[in-house]
Amino acid sequence: MKLTRKACHTDTCLVCRLCQPAWKPAIDAHKEFRPQKGELLFSKAIP
């Protein structure tokens, strides 16, 4: 994903028409988790 401020008309718009094609794959790549009571979401996270 290559993004530059010059490519965005509004600067403050996350999904304006120009940016959307660049952002969409990343937005779609989000994950949803549903931990149950007592379940760890992350633990001492180390990359």
Binding site: C8, C13, A26, F33
Partner: protein, 183 residues
């Protein structure tokens, strides 16, 4: 950290363990909050854990996406900066309170007054264990329980199983302010 989590629903605790059974709850996070944000920085190691206190739904974005967002979206960047500033203030206040305030004044009341938890008939929406309250206030289970009992006896709070309700908001607020000002 490899990413950032946005909580859609439910409540979580962000906590730190050391030794076999020592735990400090750094903060509670509910719907609309983010967790994992403190892992952003030069040191990407975030030595804490996050555990669900009830069924939770979270949305996860990887760090690269989040950082790219901050680079192009000044509104999000500004909001995040304000959020960090508030967190820092709260963290400093809490550090001072843990060091100087009596256990009674630190957090059992705060736990219940916290808007985060929401309320149901005056009671916080979900059961919070006494151990969690002790871990949040930086004290032992026994001390936390004794303080809650004292507050209940004074009529400031009500205890029902693992649920808590504030009965005298103003009196409790005044008590906390008095404790914070060291009077």
């Amino acid at each position: 950290m490899t990413g950032i989590y946005f909580i859609y629903s439910g409540n979580m605790k962000v906590h730190k363990h050391w030794g076999q059974d020592k735990e400090l709850i750094i903060r509670f996070a509910g719907a609309g909050d983010i967790v994992g944000h403190r892992g952003i920085g030069a040191d990407l190691v975030y030595p804490v854990s996050a555990t669900a206190l009830e069924p939770v739904t979270v949305c996860y974005f990887d760090l690269e996406f989040f950082q790219n967002t901050l680079q192009v979206n000044t509104n999000i960047l500004y909001e995040l900066m304000m959020f960090y500033a508030n967190e820092l203030q709260e963290s400093e206040r809490r550090m001072r309170n843990l060091a100087h305030m009596s256990v009674k004044g630190v957090s059992p009341p705060r736990c219940s007054t916290s808007k985060k938890f929401g309320s149901e008939n005056g009671f916080i929406k979900f059961p919070l264990s006494r151990q969690d309250i002790a871990s949040y206030t930086g004290t032992t289970y026994e001390t936390a329980w004794r303080m809650l009992q004292e507050l209940a006896k004074e009529g400031m709070i009500s205890l029902e199983d693992k649920r808590y309700a504030i009965l005298q908001h103003e009196a409790l607020r005044a008590f906390i302010l008095q404790q914070e000002s060291g009077e």
